[in-house]
């Protein structure tokens, strides 16, 4: 079941999170990093797919920022 799929590297996720921690002692388990990488991947793919759906609804051949803006509010609320 090997899907050749792009994703966020654990190291990148770790740096992204540590950038915003308030406490120096905060750490992230390896499993949590992996899960966060998956969560971020789902977030991006969902944004992209919703953008596509909007573009299709508008009969566009391209997902432009206008389409993305329309799906953004609901996407962020769904989080």
């Amino acid at each position: 079941m090997e899907r050749a799929s792009a994703g966020f590297r654990k190291e990148l996720v770790s740096r992204l999170l540590h950038l915003h921690f308030r406490d120096d002692r905060t750490k992230v388990s390896g499993d949590a990093l992996q899960l966060m990488a998956e969560l971020l991947r789902i977030f991006v793919v969902e944004a992209a797919v919703r953008g596509v759906r909007q573009a299709q609804a508008e009969d566009m051949a391209l997902v432009d920022v206008d389409q993305l803006e329309k799906v953004l509010p609901q996407l962020l609320l769904d989080f």
Binding site: F8, L19, L35
Partner: protein, 122 residues
């Protein structure tokens, strides 16, 4: 003294820029996959926008995760914290995260544990 501070500021800024660039690259790859799958193109601005939003969302995620762990009196964020983070959108995450290989492994581990104990009790 001021020069040092400025140099530090610049260092922080450029490391943040590197992170943003890394996010942008990954987002680009993911959008390319979706584009191929749905036969639809993404404008460069759209990919940049998704990338920016993802980067900013990480700030919320990080803060929340840190608070969840602290609430549980831990200093290490674990998978339970991540699942709590994803609670709001059950349809998006509830199933998909549980099905992620890492969660499956944990479920099997705890199940194995329980079986072992029931054998011993008999």
């Amino acid at each position: 003294m001021e020069e040092e501070q400025e140099a530090e500021e610049q260092e922080r800024f450029s490391s943040q820029q590197r992170l943003k660039a890394a996010v942008h690259y990954t987002v680009g790859c993911l959008c390319q996959e979706v584009a191929a799958d749905k036969e639809m193109q993404f404008s460069k601005q759209t990919i940049a926008a998704i990338s920016e939003i993802t980067f900013r969302q990480c700030e919320n995620f990080a803060r929340d995760l840190e608070l969840f762990a602290r609430h549980a009196k831990r200093s290490t964020i674990n998978t339970e914290d991540v699942k709590l983070l994803a609670r709001r959108s059950n349809s998006l995450f509830g199933e998909r995260l549980d099905q992620a290989p890492i969660c499956q492994k944990q479920t099997r581990a705890t199940q194995g544990h329980r079986d072992h104990r029931s054998l011993v009790a008999v």
